[in-house]
């Protein structure tokens, strides 16, 4: 089982519903976010292209945060979800500096926090909060090892990219383009 997420950049309108849903579901402290919207404009005026992405922890298969953690607080859970065990985190911030996506932050209580793919929902067979509320159905979540899962089918039929794969992280959040 390899959990992954795909965000359809052709459908995402940047409404931030995913951000609000995550904050509500996971009780994310005020002023912090586990997922966020990035708008990237490229090209030569007047021919400009706009890409809107809903971003979060990439749950890398070769996660630098897990590698640099001195206490095993950052670890791989079932399905390759990267999690932080609060009671093992010492707040050294090595994982924060090692993440090329800057996906982690310090929770006001001192431990390091980030997207969990809503593991509490996934364990019950539900979709992560962000995926479940997306009004344009721009997000797909599922198991890459199951060829019949909606994410495997989307990845097989659509063009996709991941973010800075050259950093060697083997990210598990993909962007359909």
């Amino acid at each position: 089982m390899r959990y992954a997420m795909a965000v359809d950049t052709l459908k995402c309108v940047g409404c931030t519903d995913c951000v609000v849903a995550c904050q509500t579901e996971n009780d994310v402290p005020m002023g912090h976010c586990r997922d966020w919207i990035v708008e990237k404009t490229t090209g030569t005026y007047p021919q400009l292209q706009l890409e809107i992405r809903s971003e979060r922890c990439n749950h890398c298969a070769n996660a630098p945060c897990v590698r640099t953690c001195p206490t095993e607080a950052s670890h791989y859970a079932a399905g390759g979800i990267v999690l932080v065990e609060e009671s093992e985190c010492i707040g050294c911030k090595a994982c924060i500096t090692s993440c090329p996506y800057d996906a982690r932050f310090i929770h006001p209580e001192g431990y390091v926090d980030k997207c969990t793919f809503c593991v509490q929902r996934v364990e019950k067979g539900q979709k992560p909060a962000c995926v479940s509320v997306c009004p344009t159905h721009a997000m797909i979540f599922g198991d890459l090892d199951d060829p019949n899962s909606s994410i495997s089918k989307a990845m097989a039929t659509r063009k996709w990219k991941s973010l800075i794969p050259e950093a060697g992280t083997d990210p598990k959040v993909f962007y359909l383009i």
Partner: protein, 313 residues
């Protein structure tokens, strides 16, 4: 003109707009760790060469400072931890891939060992020293007989301590400026250089003073060579490495690095030390202050610049 504008809705404290999770505590500790490593390496090395009576400051006196330096370093490390009550978790795990785990375990071993090392020299330093308890006297006498073994272990652990302070940073490929394997040797050399300068300053004999001034000149030469290589490596690297190097070649860190670290912290003191060897009168305090300040600044600038360098996507 090709435009590329990235707008992010994320504004996490200490992460955005520029990463700044590590403040003064980490570079200050890296400096103290490097200095401690340097002092212990010289002390242990010249003990193995049987030069303890010829070089008393380097071998016997300077190590007294090490437990205090490491102690202050540990306090500043603890101040940096945001979940400090769980710090003991460092010692319930051994993580080979994590430089921070290496550092924690090295400190765990080297701190008591440095105290033991000082204890074996107490009677040499203070002729009237009395251990008060017979057991303590016996233990110290036994440790004295094991001094060569102690020195060998100390050299190994000190090299790890001096190197890992750089490797800690170079292990993060997310921060392109840090992501160069030369940081480990550079920090080790700079720690050795600061301790050689301090030994030379405190030494009371011409032999010891001149030896450590000569050692320091060589070390500063190696440091300058490594700094040039650091930038050569970055400039021959990928786009993000080139961008990271440009922070020092016209960017925000240009003046602070080249004027204060390289100019005032390396080149000027090395010239003064060469003049000193040629028997020109140079107030001894000047080169040592410049070198130590340059050393500290090197670590502050490297820690800050690394956090400011990143991948763009």
């Amino acid at each position: 003109m090709i435009e590329e504008i990235i707008t992010s809705g994320r504004m996490n404290p200490e992460i955005d707009p520029v990463l700044h999770v590590w403040g003064w505590e980490i570079p200050f500790y890296l400096f103290l760790g490097g200095l401690s490593a340097g002092i212990l390496i010289f002390s242990a090395y010249f003990t193995l060469r049987n030069r303890q009576d010829e070089l008393p400051i380097a071998v016997k006196w300077m190590p007294i400072a090490v437990p205090f330096l490491i102690g202050i370093g540990l306090i500043s490390l603890l101040l940096d931890l945001s979940h400090v009550l769980y710090a003991w978790q460092l010692f319930t795990n051994i993580r080979w891939e994590s430089p921070m785990s290496w550092g924690a375990w090295t400190l765990m071993l080297i701190t008591p060992l440095s105290i033991i090392w000082v204890a074996t020299w107490m009677e040499d330093i203070f002729p009237n020293w009395d251990w008060k308890f017979e057991e303590a006297k016996t233990a110290v006498n036994w440790l004295k007989s094991q001094r060569r073994l102690l020195a060998q272990v100390l050299i190994l652990l000190s090299i790890i301590l001096g190197m890992y302070t750089g490797i800690l940073l170079s292990a993060f490929n997310a921060r392109p400026f840090w992501n160069t394997s030369i940081l480990g040797p550079l920090f080790l050399t700079s720690g050795l250089s600061a301790s050689a300068a301090l030994i030379s300053f405190f030494s009371r004999t011409e032999v010891e003073k001149r030896l450590f001034t000569r050692i320091d000149i060589i070390l500063i030469g190696i440091e300058l060579f490594m700094i040039i290589h650091l930038f050569m490596g970055h400039l021959a690297g990928t786009q993000v490495h080139i961008q990271a190097a440009k922070m020092f070649l016209g960017g925000a860190y240009t003046v602070s690095f080249w004027v204060f670290v390289v100019g005032l912290g390396l080149i000027l003191p090395v010239i003064l030390e060469i003049l000193e060897l040629k028997h020109k009168f140079i107030p001894a305090i000047v080169p040592v202050v410049l070198i130590v300040a340059g050393n500290l600044m090197l670590r502050f600038i490297v820690v800050n610049a690394g956090q400011a360098s990143r991948w763009l996507y």
